[in-house]
């Protein structure tokens, strides 16, 4: 019965391999990959429901029970993340059908796409530090290849940077695993959590905690380790950028949530309050300042990815039930809305052929649906009620006020304002103003492209209008995170 939680890893892996065989047949690839994406969404929603009803599911692979075997665990948080992953990846896939060029399709776009999803789902579901490393590498190798396909000068250079930075941080991850194994004698999350309480060398554990934080912060683009992100995300086609923006950095955030609520909770005032709150605040501020300075559609959105990671880290750093629930709600909202916004930039690029704000204008008259969808998503990310962004930020700000971190309250409101400013800057330059596009471009129909991105627009409205049940769900997740004994028991079966 528990075997079902293997499906989100096995289905994309198997389909990715199968699609290599059909690499030169566009139609077959498209049909097979759409079936897979929809199937994956259904399976992951079923798993999330199952976990919600019956508590965390876990299996030890090959009959080797944890802590000796490799554990795959789906608790509420992991299952929720898998659902979000499958929704985001399905929309990106449907969007790719209409925007990606034939050459990329021939060069294994779909197999790499599904390998990326395999890695992301694996990273969410694994219950073992070393397996996390392996799934990271699966995900990263697929992302390198997706990023460089097309091989323009810009892409090659940025991918090399991205690959070297990530390879280096993976080596640091391996070093951290070595320390963890040396100190605790186990790499299983649940077992680690038990051993941390027994071992009395908090000094060495502190070093490991910071080393792991460094690794996840690099993957999650946290201050001061975000410098690789804005450039490397601009090179590849929009469907790929949206997929990266929606998934990759969020895996880093998920790992921080997992490790710092389950294992490294022995010195919260240092790791959470000092380091995470300061870095979270700086990430928010510097990300949004970077965005304000830009005049390129995709680059503004890339900088906003960084700034919103800061909010999530702030929620984890506060470490109260409300803050964690807010952080998870914000994570869900951000995965949906960020992907949506980047897809909108792709739709605009499809019409005008550029991402430079100064070369666009007046799209509101010729493509009203596109403009209004963008406005909805843009207002949502800036945190205007009744859209989902407001209900993500509000609990975080309340939690910060409760912990009397008034500077953070001020900072997050200020960053929200700057976010609104840059969204309005995009809206004014691209959709308002004098038209700068030709007649052919004005009559170009992008209905299929918009249709592919529409689930995300609808989801942000639903998440906003029906925030109560969703927030109740994230509160359940936050409760689970603050009581790790449920997770530990389901893995170790004691």
């Amino acid at each position: 019965m528990n075997n079902i939680i293997m499906l989100p890893i096995i289905i994309p892996f198997f389909m990715g391999t199968l699609l290599i065989l059909f690499a030169k047949k566009h139609l077959t690839q498209r049909i097979l990959s759409s079936i897979t994406a929809v199937g994956l969404t259904i399976v992951s929603i079923y798993i999330a429901w199952l976990v919600y009803e019956e508590g965390p599911l876990s299996i030890g692979l090959g009959g080797w029970e944890a802590p000796f075997g490799i554990a795959i665990v789906a608790d509420n948080l992991a299952a929720f993340m898998v659902v979000l992953t499958s929704i985001v990846s399905a929309t990106c896939l449907f969007f790719a059908f209409t925007t990606i060029d034939k050459r990329r399709e021939r060069y294994y776009f779909y197999p790499l796409f599904f390998y990326l999803v395999t890695g992301v789902n694996g990273a969410f579901l694994t219950g073992d530090l070393f397996n996390l490393f392996v799934f990271f590498e699966v995900m990263l190798l697929a992302s390198y290849a997706l990023m460089v396909t097309g091989s323009t000068k810009f892409q090659l250079r940025e991918t090399f940077k991205y690959a070297v930075i990530n390879a280096f941080s993976s080596m640091l991850f391996l070093v951290a695993i070595a320390y963890v194994y040396g100190i605790l004698g186990t790499v299983n999350f649940a077992h680690m959590a038990e051993r941390v309480a027994e071992v009395e060398q908090t000094g060495v554990l502190q070093v490991v905690a910071i080393l792991l934080f460094l690794v996840f912060a690099t993957k999650g683009a946290l201050f001061p380790l975000y410098f690789w992100l804005p450039h490397s995300y601009v090179g590849p086609p929009t469907a790929v950028t949206a997929l990266f923006g929606g998934l990759l950095t969020k895996v880093g955030v998920y790992c921080i949530i997992r490790m710092y609520t389950l294992v490294f909770t022995f010195d919260i005032s240092f790791t959470h309050h000092t380091i995470m709150l300061v870095l979270g605040g700086l990430t928010m501020l510097l990300g949004v300042l970077g965005a304000v300075a830009q005049f390129d559609y995709k680059r503004i959105l890339s900088f906003h990815i960084i700034s919103q990671i800061g909010y999530m880290i702030m929620g984890i750093g506060l470490n109260t039930a409300l803050a964690l629930a807010g952080a998870i709600y914000f994570l869900a909202h951000n995965m949906i809305v960020k992907t949506g916004l980047i897809l909108m930039s792709g739709a605009t690029e499809k019409i005008t052929g550029t991402t430079d704000l100064k070369k666009m204008g007046g799209l509101l008259k010729t493509h009203p649906v596109l403009a209004w969808s963008f406005l909805i998503l843009g207002l949502s990310i800036a945190g205007i009620p009744p859209l989902s962004g407001f209900f993500g930020k509000f609990p975080l700000i309340v939690a910060a006020a409760e912990e009397s971190s008034y500077f953070l309250v001020f900072l997050s409101l200020f960053v929200g304002m700057l976010t609104l400013f840059s969204m309005i800057k995009i809206f004014m330059n691209v959709y308002w103003g004098a038209p700068q596009h030709t007649k052919e471009q004005a009559t170009l129909s992008i209905t299929p492209t918009l249709l592919a991105a529409s689930p995300l627009v609808i989801l942000t409205i639903i998440l906003g209008l029906f925030a109560e049940p969703f927030f109740a769900y994230t509160e359940v997740i936050a409760e689970d995170l603050l009581n790790p004994s449920v997770y530990i028991q389901s893995v170790l079966k004691e």
Binding site: L141, K153, F154, L156, T159, V164, L174, A178, Y181
Partner: protein, 112 residues
């Protein structure tokens, strides 16, 4: 034995760091490779070195060497092999397209 291993790991990390800071694409890749081997050796050493017993519990009873780090570095070596292969191909393509492998000269192409 452990001391010797730790010295070797230190040397690998130091040389790897030096290579990563070089301007040549290939040297950066060699740096990544050396650091990854340092990390593999660290993983093996941190788990405790033992001489003369195989990592098989049934054959040697309680005297067995811990098999888990060996399984882990085997996986890690394969992964680092894959990453290195990818990086080498990427560096080759970069060289073919840009006609240089000097990282400084890659900077400032038409899009900035």
């Amino acid at each position: 034995m452990e001391i010797l291993m730790f010295i070797a790991i230190g040397v690998l990390f130091a040389v790897g760091t030096y290579f990563i800071l070089c301007r040549s694409l290939l040297k950066v890749i060699i740096g990544i490779l050396l650091i990854s081997h340092g990390a593999h050796m660290l993983l093996l050493t941190m788990a405790g070195l033992r001489q003369g017993v195989p990592p098989l519990v049934d054959l040697s009873g309680s005297e067995a060497t811990d098999p888990l780090p060996q399984a882990m570095i085997l996986t890690a070596i394969v992964i680092s092999f894959g990453i290195t292969a990818f990086l080498v191909v990427l560096a080759y393509r970069t060289y073919r397209v840009n006609k240089t492998e000097d990282l400084d000269k890659l900077r400032g192409s038409d899009d900035e």
